[in-house]
């Protein structure tokens, strides 16, 4: 046994691997000797925040993750949910924040590549993608460059791979100045009895390496030390990974083809800390040891050390346990697609993770403990202080028409067309609703009437003001967006982006948000089936706004009855579904207060989950019965912005009249939760009455607040605005900012 790998393990080296002294002591206790350099690298990969979830695990466990339709919850590459007829939807969201800040195009591209791989590793063909993006203030010197690069990167990868991008978010706020967020979501379709998992089974079976060759990509920070023993390095190697969507597309086709042959026992994509994480996970889950022979690993660079191979984050690679009798057939498939295929090891019965390189054993570790014994922290946290409702009565009055024009043309509420037109939104020929509505909707191929709806949501300013309410709101808004198309929300994935959890205030945000998310998911039967945590999003001690992105999936039984946000016709009655005849009341933390008065104080609007559920079910039923002609939920900008969006989406105007209090601002711009707008043909008086009565019977207020028609939007107490002007404002901010 030869383990030393020559690099002496110093305190400095340990620290540069992100391991705290007590964590290193844990390693010594576990293996009873000093680790080799390669082993140190393996531990650092397995025990970092990204792989071990050491700060968040305790709290993630509190989330609801099961339900009658859940086939696979968190713990695999992606969550799996039954959609009936023997089919399942497979989905997950993942962040690529830091890489995207360093190199926006490649960072975002490889983020998309990673999440697509997670989905097809499970045997699903990707059918939809979303991207939730957050950037610094528009006038910050890096913002434009980051937006351009990230959007091009998301598109560059997704378009070439061939998945329609059907939704997402783009938001600007100074808290992201030094730390943009790129959260990528992907969903795929699979037969529910043909889901592939990462758990290895059977002793002595071949472990196969698939896909692209291994380079030194992403062998970061710690390996800078490797410059000392590799005198051949002419330049500091960049740690940026470059995506190769072409190879990934081939990998998709090859994997799906291979899975059909029955050759695959277990499969795992190589994501962060590639070979290390994937091999350990496959073995540990199956109660098996793994032996890897690095000399068999396809490499694209010369003289790679064992350490580098084990930590490389080269993209477009997979590891698989194969039925030996199918080896030839499997290899032929991969060769046909021009991909590497190499047997790099075998499963063993000794529960050890052994790594061989050039005839030497460079690592020999207990495989279960690598994962199970990873540190887990109960980090101290403090509850975020609750703000009192501010008094806005002294603020100068602003004409509602002026305010609306400003809001629809603002950085955060303007149209994202500039972004999504760079994405292929219709490839695969199943996109029923492309970006611009409440949720993206994709037809289920091979089925006459079924479709899936997707939405990604969070309102970070709410979470910052009250993590618990904000966590609830993120889930509720996502759920609402799905309901607004007529979809039954099935399940969600979460991407928790926060600052440094070692600071009790930040940890308090994380804890509060998870509690809120859990509460909302339980109340709405909307389990979390996969997710990702991204911590330490801060620069110079200043954290981003807490951003727990929720990606939700819903099922539409008959897409012919699906609702869209655009007014369908002139002369439709507009109905507001809400909780009380106070219409709108809550201005604190609203887009209006932020953008019109630069006020960011006070509590966010509270979410009444029981009402939320009632309202969503009512709206969904009305859509499914084919009784309504359009539907849109109320979110940023409140009632006024929601009506404007419905008008802009159709080109049809509207007149709103509802009993106004002396100050119309909270009614028009308040962001009270649990509200929708519906339209119904006005001529059908009976139907109108029926819907209003039925809402009342279910404990909701359904108010007839106006009518569609003409080419202008007329809000109470102010001048009419032409829909054309609204549209011009709405569409111009982004191109003017970027081009």
């Amino acid at each position: 046994m030869t383990l030393s790998n020559t690099i002496p393990i110093t305190d400095e080296l340990i620290a540069s691997h992100g391991l705290k002294p007590d964590e290193y002591q844990r390693i010594l206790d576990l293996i009873g000797r000093e680790p080799s350099f390669t082993e140190l690298g393996i531990f650092s990969a397995m025990w970092n925040e990204h792989c071990s979830y050491k700060s968040s695990k305790k709290w993630l466990k509190t989330l609801p993750t099961s339900g009658p339709r859940v086939i696979q919850g968190p713990g695999e590459n992606a969550g799996v949910v039954d959609i009936g007829d023997g089919q399942a939807v497979v989905f997950k969201m993942e962040s690529h924040n830091h890489p995207s800040y360093i190199e926006p195009y490649q960072g975002a591209a490889t983020g998309v590549g990673g999440i697509l791989r997670d989905v097809f590793t499970m045997g699903a063909r990707p059918i939809a993608a979303m991207n939730a993006l957050r950037f610094g203030a528009p006038d910050h010197h890096k913002t434009q460059h980051l937006v351009a690069g990230v959007v091009a990167g998301v598109g560059g990868y997704g378009n070439s791979f061939g998945v329609p991008t059907v939704g997402g978010e783009v938001e600007f706020d100074p808290s992201y100045n030094g730390n943009c967020l790129v959260n990528a979501f992907a969903a795929g379709l699979a037969d529910s009895d043909k889901i592939f998992l990462s758990q290895a089974k059977g002793v002595g079976l071949p472990v196969v390496y698939l896909g692209a060759k291994t380079g030194r990509d992403g062998v970061g920070g710690a390996t800078m030390a490797s410059a000392e023993f590799d005198d051949d390095i002419e330049e500091k190697r960049p740690t940026v990974q470059v995506g190769d969507p072409f190879t990934e597309k081939c990998l998709l086709e090859a994997c799906l083809e291979l899975m059909k042959t029955g050759a695959v026992i277990a499969i795992q994509d190589m994501g962060a800390a590639g070979l290390t994480c994937s091999a350990v996970e496959m073995g540990a889950k199956g109660d098996l040891g793994i032996e890897l022979d690095l000399d068999a690993v396809p490499v694209r660079e010369e003289r790679m050390s064992a350490y580098e191979m084990m930590l490389s984050e080269s993209q477009e690679r997979m590891l698989m346990v194969l039925r030996p009798e199918k080896e030839e057939e499997a290899e032929a498939i991969f060769r046909k697609w021009g991909l590497d295929f190499a047997i790099v090891g075998k499963t063993t019965d000794d529960l050890r993770f052994r790594v061989l390189h050039q005839g030497e054993e460079v690592a020999n570790l207990p495989i279960k403990e690598l994962g199970d014994e990873a540190p887990e922290y109960d980090r101290p946290w403090v509850e975020s202080p609750k703000a009192a409702l501010p008094d806005f009565s002294a603020l100068p009055a602003i004409d509602p028409a002026d305010a609306l024009l400003k809001l629809v043309g603002s950085a955060n509420l303007s149209s994202r067309r500039w972004v999504w037109e760079q994405y292929d939104t219709l490839i695969q020929g199943n996109s029923l609703q492309r970006p611009g509505g409440d949720a993206g909707v994709v037809r289920v191929e091979g089925h006459e009437t079924k479709a899936l709806a997707f939405s990604s949501d969070v309102t970070p300013r709410y979470v910052e003001a009250d993590p618990y309410e904000g966590g609830k709101q993120a889930v509720a808004e996502c759920w609402r967006n799905l309901c607004a198309t007529g979809a039954l929300p099935l399940a969600a994935t979460d991407n928790l982006n926060f600052g440094n959890p070692e600071r009790p205030e930040i940890m308090g945000q994380l804890v509060g948000a998870i509690k809120g998310i859990g509460e909302a998911c339980r109340a709405l039967d909307f389990p979390i089936v996969s997710g990702n945590v991204s911590l330490y999003n801060e620069t110079n001690g200043k954290a981003i706004m807490p951003t727990p992105t929720i990606g939700g999936v819903g099922l539409i039984d008959d897409w012919a009855k699906m609702a869209r946000i655009g007014f369908a016709a002139e002369g439709d009655a507009i109905l507001l579904v809400c909780a009380s005849n106070m219409w709108g009341t809550h201005l604190a933390q609203s887009a209006y207060m932020r953008d019109m008065h630069e006020r960011r104080d006070g509590p966010p609007p509270p979410v009444d989950l029981a009402h939320e559920r009632k309202a969503g079910e009512f709206v969904r039923d009305a859509i499914r019965d084919g009784r309504i002609t359009a539907c849109h939920d109320l979110s940023d900008g409140g009632l006024a912005v929601a009506v404007a969006e419905m008008a802009m989406a159709s080109g049809i105007g509207a007149a709103i009249s509802l009993p106004m209090p002396t100050n119309p601002t909270p009614v028009l711009f308040g962001e009270d939760q649990g509200r929708y707008l519906l339209t119904v043909p006005r001529a059908d008086k009976e139907l109108l009455r029926e819907i209003i009565d039925e809402g009342a019977a279910r404990g909701l207020v359904v108010a007839w607040i106006g009518e569609t028609g003409g080419s202008e939007l007329k809000l109470p107490g102010t001048r009419a605005i032409s829909v054309q002007e609204l549209k011009a404002r709405h569409e111009s901010w982004f191109p003017e900012f970027m081009d």
Binding site: I102, E103, Y105, Q106, A212, G215, R216, D217, E234, E235, R237, P238, V240, Q241, V242, D244, F246, T247, R300, E301, S314, Q315, G338
Partner: protein
């Protein structure tokens, strides 16, 4: 007027999917003995200037700011 050529190439170790694809295609077309292929860019730039030293400094600034992605690329500047 000064004519300059800026050449931008990928740093060592950075994956070059284009180069790789070309390698493969050359093989398919029957060219044997082709080792690594790496793809880069050239920019032919005209500058209204007579001061060669200043032009060179300016071109380098253009590379740093726009023409090269210095996170993954190297550049070189050559005046005609």
């Amino acid at each position: 007027m000064i004519k300059a050529r800026v050449t931008v190439t990928l740093k060592n170790g950075v994956l070059d999917p284009q180069g790789k694809a070309i390698e493969g295609a050359l093989g398919t077309l029957g060219f044997s003995g082709v080792g690594h292929v790496r793809q880069g860019k050239v920019f032919d730039i005209e500058l209204e200037s007579a001061d060669r030293a200043k032009a060179e400094a300016e071109l380098k600034a253009m590379c740093d700011k726009l023409l090269a992605n210095t996170v993954i690329e190297n550049y070189s500047v050559e005046l005609a």
